[in-house]
Subunit: 207 residues, 2 copies
DNA sequence: GGGAATATTCCC
DNA sequence: GGGAATATTCCC
Protein backbone atom coordinates (compact mmCIF):
# COMPACT_ATOMS: atom_id res chain seq x y z
CA UNK A 1 0.00 0.00 0.00
CA UNK A 2 1.47 3.24 0.90
CA UNK A 3 4.17 4.03 -1.32
CA UNK A 4 2.30 7.25 -1.03
CA UNK A 5 3.51 7.71 2.48
CA UNK A 6 7.06 7.31 1.46
CA UNK A 7 6.63 9.74 -1.32
CA UNK A 8 5.05 12.20 0.94
CA UNK A 9 7.93 11.93 3.28
CA UNK A 10 10.51 12.36 0.65
CA UNK A 11 8.72 15.48 -0.28
CA UNK A 12 8.95 16.83 3.17
CA UNK A 13 12.62 16.20 3.34
CA UNK A 14 13.82 17.03 -0.07
CA UNK A 15 12.60 19.64 -2.40
CA UNK A 16 9.94 19.17 -4.94
CA UNK A 17 7.78 21.09 -7.26
CA UNK A 18 5.53 23.53 -5.60
CA UNK A 19 6.99 23.48 -2.16
CA UNK A 20 3.72 22.68 -0.50
CA UNK A 21 4.27 21.00 2.75
CA UNK A 22 1.34 18.86 3.65
CA UNK A 23 -0.32 18.36 0.33
CA UNK A 24 -1.40 15.06 -1.02
CA UNK A 25 1.39 14.21 -3.26
CA UNK A 26 1.57 12.72 -6.59
CA UNK A 27 1.13 12.38 -10.10
CA UNK A 28 2.55 15.77 -10.64
CA UNK A 29 3.48 16.49 -14.17
CA UNK A 30 6.93 16.06 -15.61
CA UNK A 31 9.36 18.94 -15.61
CA UNK A 32 8.77 21.36 -18.47
CA UNK A 33 12.21 20.66 -19.79
CA UNK A 34 11.42 16.97 -20.23
CA UNK A 35 8.10 17.58 -21.92
CA UNK A 36 9.61 20.03 -24.33
CA UNK A 37 12.48 17.75 -25.18
CA UNK A 38 10.11 14.85 -25.71
CA UNK A 39 7.73 16.88 -27.84
CA UNK A 40 10.53 18.31 -29.88
CA UNK A 41 11.47 14.76 -30.82
CA UNK A 42 7.93 13.73 -31.63
CA UNK A 43 7.48 16.76 -33.78
CA UNK A 44 10.27 15.75 -36.07
CA UNK A 45 9.16 18.50 -38.41
CA UNK A 46 12.36 18.23 -40.35
CA UNK A 47 12.22 14.54 -41.02
CA UNK A 48 14.68 13.89 -38.23
CA UNK A 49 17.53 15.52 -40.07
CA UNK A 50 18.39 17.78 -37.15
CA UNK A 51 17.40 15.67 -34.20
CA UNK A 52 15.61 12.36 -33.80
CA UNK A 53 15.02 9.30 -31.66
CA UNK A 54 17.66 6.64 -32.11
CA UNK A 55 16.91 3.31 -33.76
CA UNK A 56 15.04 1.59 -30.98
CA UNK A 57 13.71 4.72 -29.34
CA UNK A 58 15.81 4.24 -26.24
CA UNK A 59 17.48 7.60 -26.67
CA UNK A 60 17.91 10.45 -29.09
CA UNK A 61 20.53 11.96 -31.33
CA UNK A 62 21.26 15.56 -32.20
CA UNK A 63 22.49 15.18 -35.74
CA UNK A 64 23.21 18.81 -36.34
CA UNK A 65 24.01 20.81 -33.22
CA UNK A 66 24.30 24.04 -35.17
CA UNK A 67 20.86 23.83 -36.74
CA UNK A 68 19.45 22.39 -33.56
CA UNK A 69 20.66 25.45 -31.67
CA UNK A 70 19.58 27.99 -34.22
CA UNK A 71 16.26 26.51 -35.28
CA UNK A 72 14.97 24.06 -32.74
CA UNK A 73 16.02 25.33 -29.33
CA UNK A 74 14.51 28.82 -29.53
CA UNK A 75 11.14 27.35 -30.49
CA UNK A 76 11.01 25.36 -27.28
CA UNK A 77 13.22 27.23 -24.85
CA UNK A 78 14.25 30.75 -23.96
CA UNK A 79 17.66 30.41 -25.48
CA UNK A 80 19.61 29.01 -28.38
CA UNK A 81 22.65 27.66 -26.59
CA UNK A 82 23.48 24.05 -27.10
CA UNK A 83 25.50 23.99 -23.91
CA UNK A 84 22.53 25.14 -21.85
CA UNK A 85 20.53 22.31 -23.31
CA UNK A 86 23.30 19.87 -22.40
CA UNK A 87 23.44 21.34 -18.93
CA UNK A 88 19.78 20.53 -18.48
CA UNK A 89 20.23 17.00 -19.78
CA UNK A 90 22.92 16.47 -17.19
CA UNK A 91 20.76 17.97 -14.49
CA UNK A 92 18.10 15.38 -15.23
CA UNK A 93 20.55 12.52 -15.35
CA UNK A 94 20.83 11.88 -19.07
CA UNK A 95 24.00 10.21 -20.25
CA UNK A 96 25.94 10.87 -23.41
CA UNK A 97 26.47 7.41 -24.76
CA UNK A 98 28.79 8.01 -27.63
CA UNK A 99 31.93 10.05 -27.97
CA UNK A 100 31.40 10.23 -31.70
CA UNK A 101 27.99 11.85 -31.83
CA UNK A 102 25.51 13.69 -29.65
CA UNK A 103 23.45 10.75 -28.51
CA UNK A 104 21.78 10.82 -25.10
CA UNK A 105 19.87 8.34 -23.01
CA UNK A 106 17.88 8.23 -19.86
CA UNK A 107 16.33 5.03 -18.59
CA UNK A 108 12.98 6.75 -18.26
CA UNK A 109 13.10 8.72 -21.46
CA UNK A 110 11.88 6.51 -24.27
CA UNK A 111 9.91 6.86 -27.44
CA UNK A 112 6.23 6.19 -26.88
CA UNK A 113 6.52 6.58 -23.12
CA UNK A 114 5.61 10.17 -22.47
CA UNK A 115 3.93 9.13 -19.24
CA UNK A 116 7.18 7.81 -17.92
CA UNK A 117 8.73 11.24 -17.89
CA UNK A 118 7.20 11.92 -14.53
CA UNK A 119 9.66 9.42 -13.09
CA UNK A 120 12.60 11.58 -14.02
CA UNK A 121 13.77 13.96 -11.33
CA UNK A 122 16.36 16.65 -11.12
CA UNK A 123 19.56 15.67 -9.45
CA UNK A 124 19.64 17.26 -6.06
CA UNK A 125 22.72 19.33 -5.60
CA UNK A 126 24.11 17.81 -2.49
CA UNK A 127 27.11 19.95 -1.74
CA UNK A 128 30.17 17.77 -1.62
CA UNK A 129 31.54 19.13 1.60
CA UNK A 130 29.37 17.25 4.02
CA UNK A 131 27.16 14.98 1.99
CA UNK A 132 26.88 12.25 4.56
CA UNK A 133 25.31 14.49 7.11
CA UNK A 134 22.25 15.28 5.12
CA UNK A 135 21.83 11.80 3.81
CA UNK A 136 21.80 10.13 7.15
CA UNK A 137 19.49 12.59 8.76
CA UNK A 138 17.05 12.32 5.90
CA UNK A 139 16.99 8.61 6.35
CA UNK A 140 16.33 9.02 10.03
CA UNK A 141 13.39 11.13 9.25
CA UNK A 142 11.98 8.66 6.80
CA UNK A 143 12.17 5.89 9.30
CA UNK A 144 10.76 7.68 12.27
CA UNK A 145 7.76 9.04 10.49
CA UNK A 146 6.66 6.31 8.22
CA UNK A 147 5.03 4.02 10.77
CA UNK A 148 1.36 3.49 11.10
CA UNK A 149 -0.01 6.68 12.51
CA UNK A 150 -2.28 6.78 15.48
CA UNK A 151 0.00 5.31 18.10
CA UNK A 152 3.23 6.42 16.63
CA UNK A 153 2.02 9.85 15.94
CA UNK A 154 2.85 11.11 19.31
CA UNK A 155 6.07 9.23 19.46
CA UNK A 156 7.46 10.48 16.19
CA UNK A 157 6.32 13.91 17.18
CA UNK A 158 8.47 13.71 20.25
CA UNK A 159 11.40 12.54 18.20
CA UNK A 160 10.97 15.36 15.76
CA UNK A 161 10.86 17.90 18.53
CA UNK A 162 13.95 16.43 20.04
CA UNK A 163 15.81 16.47 16.78
CA UNK A 164 14.61 19.98 16.21
CA UNK A 165 15.96 21.14 19.50
CA UNK A 166 19.32 19.58 18.79
CA UNK A 167 19.47 21.15 15.38
CA UNK A 168 18.89 24.57 16.85
CA UNK A 169 21.59 24.06 19.38
CA UNK A 170 23.91 22.93 16.65
CA UNK A 171 23.01 25.93 14.57
CA UNK A 172 23.95 28.27 17.36
CA UNK A 173 27.31 26.59 17.75
CA UNK A 174 28.00 26.84 14.03
CA UNK A 175 27.01 30.48 14.01
CA UNK A 176 29.38 31.20 16.82
CA UNK A 177 32.16 29.42 15.01
CA UNK A 178 31.50 31.57 12.00
CA UNK A 179 31.52 34.72 14.06
CA UNK A 180 34.93 33.73 15.34
CA UNK A 181 36.19 33.05 11.88
CA UNK A 182 35.03 36.43 10.74
CA UNK A 183 36.86 38.08 13.55
CA UNK A 184 39.94 36.04 12.81
CA UNK A 185 39.80 36.92 9.16
CA UNK A 186 39.62 40.58 9.98
CA UNK A 187 42.63 40.35 12.22
CA UNK A 188 44.63 38.47 9.67
CA UNK A 189 43.84 40.96 6.95
CA UNK A 190 44.74 43.79 9.22
CA UNK A 191 47.98 42.14 10.13
CA UNK A 192 48.75 41.42 6.52
CA UNK A 193 48.23 44.97 5.38
CA UNK A 194 50.31 46.21 8.27
CA UNK A 195 53.17 43.95 7.36
CA UNK A 196 52.98 44.99 3.77
CA UNK A 197 52.92 48.64 4.71
CA UNK A 198 55.94 48.24 6.90
CA UNK A 199 57.56 46.31 4.20
CA UNK A 200 57.01 49.06 1.73
CA UNK A 201 58.23 51.78 4.02
CA UNK A 202 61.46 49.97 4.60
CA UNK A 203 62.70 46.95 6.39
CA UNK A 204 61.40 46.08 9.78
CA UNK A 205 58.70 43.52 10.27
CA UNK A 206 56.61 42.27 13.04
CA UNK A 207 53.05 41.27 13.39
CA UNK B 1 50.46 47.35 -3.49
CA UNK B 2 47.38 48.20 -1.58
CA UNK B 3 44.08 46.60 -0.95
CA UNK B 4 43.93 44.90 -4.29
CA UNK B 5 45.78 42.00 -2.80
CA UNK B 6 43.19 41.56 -0.18
CA UNK B 7 40.45 41.60 -2.72
CA UNK B 8 42.14 39.00 -4.79
CA UNK B 9 42.36 36.72 -1.84
CA UNK B 10 38.76 36.94 -0.90
CA UNK B 11 37.71 36.34 -4.41
CA UNK B 12 39.79 33.26 -4.67
CA UNK B 13 38.07 31.66 -1.79
CA UNK B 14 34.53 31.39 -2.76
CA UNK B 15 32.23 31.87 -5.53
CA UNK B 16 32.96 35.27 -6.83
CA UNK B 17 30.16 35.47 -9.30
CA UNK B 18 27.48 37.04 -7.21
CA UNK B 19 29.60 37.16 -4.13
CA UNK B 20 28.13 35.86 -1.00
CA UNK B 21 29.04 33.15 1.37
CA UNK B 22 32.34 34.55 2.50
CA UNK B 23 31.15 38.01 1.54
CA UNK B 24 33.33 40.98 2.51
CA UNK B 25 33.93 41.86 -1.10
CA UNK B 26 31.91 43.50 -3.79
CA UNK B 27 31.50 42.11 -7.25
CA UNK B 28 33.16 44.31 -9.80
CA UNK B 29 30.31 44.52 -12.24
CA UNK B 30 26.64 45.04 -11.50
CA UNK B 31 24.12 42.29 -11.98
CA UNK B 32 22.90 42.01 -15.57
CA UNK B 33 19.39 42.75 -14.45
CA UNK B 34 20.42 46.12 -13.04
CA UNK B 35 22.39 47.11 -16.10
CA UNK B 36 19.55 46.22 -18.39
CA UNK B 37 17.01 48.07 -16.34
CA UNK B 38 19.25 51.12 -16.20
CA UNK B 39 19.99 51.04 -19.91
CA UNK B 40 16.36 50.56 -20.75
CA UNK B 41 15.66 53.82 -18.97
CA UNK B 42 18.49 55.70 -20.61
CA UNK B 43 17.38 54.50 -23.98
CA UNK B 44 14.00 56.10 -23.65
CA UNK B 45 13.47 55.39 -27.33
CA UNK B 46 9.80 56.20 -26.98
CA UNK B 47 10.18 59.59 -25.41
CA UNK B 48 9.48 58.18 -21.99
CA UNK B 49 5.89 57.41 -22.79
CA UNK B 50 6.18 53.81 -21.67
CA UNK B 51 8.77 54.03 -18.94
CA UNK B 52 11.02 56.80 -17.67
CA UNK B 53 13.03 58.18 -14.79
CA UNK B 54 10.94 60.17 -12.35
CA UNK B 55 11.33 63.91 -11.96
CA UNK B 56 14.55 64.08 -10.01
CA UNK B 57 16.00 60.81 -11.29
CA UNK B 58 15.73 59.13 -7.92
CA UNK B 59 13.55 56.37 -9.28
CA UNK B 60 11.58 55.34 -12.31
CA UNK B 61 8.01 54.94 -13.43
CA UNK B 62 6.40 52.38 -15.68
CA UNK B 63 3.71 54.49 -17.29
CA UNK B 64 2.25 51.74 -19.41
CA UNK B 65 2.71 48.24 -18.03
CA UNK B 66 1.04 46.66 -21.03
CA UNK B 67 3.29 48.26 -23.60
CA UNK B 68 6.25 47.90 -21.31
CA UNK B 69 5.63 44.15 -21.16
CA UNK B 70 4.96 43.69 -24.84
CA UNK B 71 7.55 46.02 -26.31
CA UNK B 72 10.26 46.79 -23.81
CA UNK B 73 10.78 43.68 -21.72
CA UNK B 74 11.45 41.21 -24.53
CA UNK B 75 14.12 43.47 -25.95
CA UNK B 76 16.08 43.32 -22.72
CA UNK B 77 15.05 40.09 -21.07
CA UNK B 78 14.04 36.55 -21.92
CA UNK B 79 10.41 37.12 -21.17
CA UNK B 80 7.56 39.58 -21.42
CA UNK B 81 6.00 39.17 -18.01
CA UNK B 82 5.58 42.25 -15.95
CA UNK B 83 5.38 40.20 -12.79
CA UNK B 84 8.76 38.58 -13.44
CA UNK B 85 10.23 42.03 -13.80
CA UNK B 86 8.66 43.06 -10.50
CA UNK B 87 9.97 39.91 -8.90
CA UNK B 88 13.49 40.90 -9.88
CA UNK B 89 13.00 44.42 -8.56
CA UNK B 90 12.00 42.97 -5.24
CA UNK B 91 14.94 40.60 -5.26
CA UNK B 92 17.27 43.54 -5.58
CA UNK B 93 15.54 45.55 -2.90
CA UNK B 94 13.61 48.10 -4.93
CA UNK B 95 10.56 49.61 -3.29
CA UNK B 96 7.27 50.51 -4.88
CA UNK B 97 6.72 54.01 -3.61
CA UNK B 98 3.24 54.73 -4.80
CA UNK B 99 0.05 52.78 -4.69
CA UNK B 100 -1.30 54.81 -7.56
CA UNK B 101 1.32 54.10 -10.17
CA UNK B 102 4.23 51.78 -10.90
CA UNK B 103 7.03 53.86 -9.45
CA UNK B 104 10.08 52.17 -7.98
CA UNK B 105 13.10 53.33 -6.09
CA UNK B 106 16.36 52.00 -4.80
CA UNK B 107 18.78 54.14 -2.91
CA UNK B 108 21.57 53.10 -5.24
CA UNK B 109 19.64 53.26 -8.46
CA UNK B 110 19.70 56.83 -9.72
CA UNK B 111 19.86 58.63 -13.01
CA UNK B 112 23.41 59.45 -13.98
CA UNK B 113 24.88 56.98 -11.50
CA UNK B 114 25.43 53.85 -13.49
CA UNK B 115 28.58 53.18 -11.53
CA UNK B 116 26.60 53.01 -8.34
CA UNK B 117 24.77 49.90 -9.49
CA UNK B 118 27.57 47.68 -8.24
CA UNK B 119 26.47 48.63 -4.74
CA UNK B 120 23.17 46.87 -5.23
CA UNK B 121 23.10 43.26 -4.18
CA UNK B 122 20.54 40.52 -4.32
CA UNK B 123 18.65 40.17 -1.09
CA UNK B 124 18.34 36.48 -0.73
CA UNK B 125 21.79 35.08 -0.69
CA UNK B 126 23.60 36.97 2.02
CA UNK B 127 23.71 34.49 4.85
CA UNK B 128 24.58 36.77 7.69
CA UNK B 129 25.79 35.15 10.83
CA UNK B 130 22.48 35.38 12.56
CA UNK B 131 19.87 35.29 9.88
CA UNK B 132 16.76 37.02 11.01
CA UNK B 133 14.32 35.21 8.78
CA UNK B 134 15.32 32.06 10.48
CA UNK B 135 14.61 33.36 13.94
CA UNK B 136 11.12 34.46 13.13
CA UNK B 137 10.09 31.30 11.36
CA UNK B 138 11.37 29.18 14.19
CA UNK B 139 9.40 31.20 16.64
CA UNK B 140 6.27 30.92 14.58
CA UNK B 141 6.60 27.23 14.37
CA UNK B 142 7.18 26.93 18.05
CA UNK B 143 4.01 28.81 18.74
CA UNK B 144 1.80 27.07 16.30
CA UNK B 145 2.78 23.64 17.45
CA UNK B 146 1.44 23.65 20.95
CA UNK B 147 -2.22 23.97 20.17
CA UNK B 148 -4.86 21.46 21.08
CA UNK B 149 -3.85 18.14 19.68
CA UNK B 150 -6.11 15.94 17.65
CA UNK B 151 -6.86 18.20 14.73
CA UNK B 152 -3.66 20.07 14.93
CA UNK B 153 -1.60 17.02 15.47
CA UNK B 154 -1.04 16.38 11.86
CA UNK B 155 -0.62 20.01 11.08
CA UNK B 156 1.97 20.67 13.71
CA UNK B 157 3.74 17.54 12.64
CA UNK B 158 4.04 18.93 9.17
CA UNK B 159 5.30 22.17 10.53
CA UNK B 160 7.87 20.42 12.60
CA UNK B 161 9.07 18.44 9.64
CA UNK B 162 9.25 21.60 7.62
CA UNK B 163 11.23 23.36 10.27
CA UNK B 164 13.42 20.35 10.56
CA UNK B 165 14.12 20.36 6.89
CA UNK B 166 14.98 24.02 6.97
CA UNK B 167 17.28 23.58 9.90
CA UNK B 168 19.17 20.86 8.13
CA UNK B 169 19.50 22.93 5.05
CA UNK B 170 20.74 25.78 7.12
CA UNK B 171 23.19 23.58 8.91
CA UNK B 172 24.64 22.51 5.63
CA UNK B 173 25.04 26.09 4.51
CA UNK B 174 26.73 27.03 7.72
CA UNK B 175 29.07 24.09 7.45
CA UNK B 176 29.98 25.11 3.97
CA UNK B 177 30.65 28.64 5.12
CA UNK B 178 32.94 27.28 7.76
CA UNK B 179 34.78 25.16 5.24
CA UNK B 180 35.36 28.26 3.17
CA UNK B 181 36.58 30.21 6.13
CA UNK B 182 39.04 27.48 6.91
CA UNK B 183 40.35 27.55 3.42
CA UNK B 184 40.54 31.31 3.52
CA UNK B 185 42.43 31.26 6.78
CA UNK B 186 44.95 28.87 5.33
CA UNK B 187 45.51 31.06 2.32
CA UNK B 188 45.88 34.14 4.44
CA UNK B 189 48.42 32.51 6.70
CA UNK B 190 50.34 31.24 3.73
CA UNK B 191 50.32 34.65 2.18
CA UNK B 192 51.38 36.25 5.41
CA UNK B 193 54.35 33.98 5.92
CA UNK B 194 55.38 34.50 2.35
CA UNK B 195 55.32 38.22 2.72
CA UNK B 196 57.30 38.05 5.88
CA UNK B 197 59.85 35.75 4.31
CA UNK B 198 60.33 38.08 1.42
CA UNK B 199 60.57 40.87 3.85
CA UNK B 200 63.30 39.18 5.81
CA UNK B 201 65.34 38.23 2.80
CA UNK B 202 65.52 41.82 1.81
CA UNK B 203 63.36 44.35 0.20
CA UNK B 204 61.15 43.32 -2.63
CA UNK B 205 57.64 42.31 -1.85
CA UNK B 206 54.72 40.74 -3.43
CA UNK B 207 52.15 38.28 -2.25
C1' DG C 1 6.44 40.78 -1.23
C1' DG C 2 8.84 36.90 -1.02
C1' DG C 3 10.02 31.50 -0.71
C1' DA C 4 11.27 28.09 -3.55
C1' DA C 5 11.42 25.37 -7.87
C1' DT C 6 13.06 25.22 -12.47
C1' DA C 7 15.78 27.44 -16.29
C1' DT C 8 19.79 29.68 -18.10
C1' DT C 9 24.34 31.26 -17.65
C1' DC C 10 29.01 31.19 -16.16
C1' DC C 11 32.91 28.92 -14.87
C1' DC C 12 36.05 25.16 -13.16
C1' DG D 1 30.07 16.90 -15.95
C1' DG D 2 28.73 19.57 -12.51
C1' DG D 3 28.76 23.60 -8.72
C1' DA D 4 26.86 27.75 -8.14
C1' DA D 5 25.05 32.38 -9.45
C1' DT D 6 21.46 34.84 -11.66
C1' DA D 7 16.93 34.72 -14.18
C1' DT D 8 12.22 33.25 -14.74
C1' DT D 9 8.26 30.99 -13.14
C1' DC D 10 4.96 29.46 -9.85
C1' DC D 11 2.61 29.88 -5.81
C1' DC D 12 1.40 31.50 -1.05
Amino acid sequence: MDSSNVLELNLGVGNNGGGQVGQSVRPRCPAPFLLKTYDLLEESGNGGKIVSWNGDGSGFIVWSPAEFSDLTLPRFFKHNNFSSFIRQLNTYGFKKISSKRWEFKHEKFQRGCRDMLVEITRKKCEPSVFPSYLKSSSEENAITSNNSMEENNNNSHQLLMEENKNLKKERLELQMQIAEFKSLEMKLLECLSQVMDNHQNKSRGQC
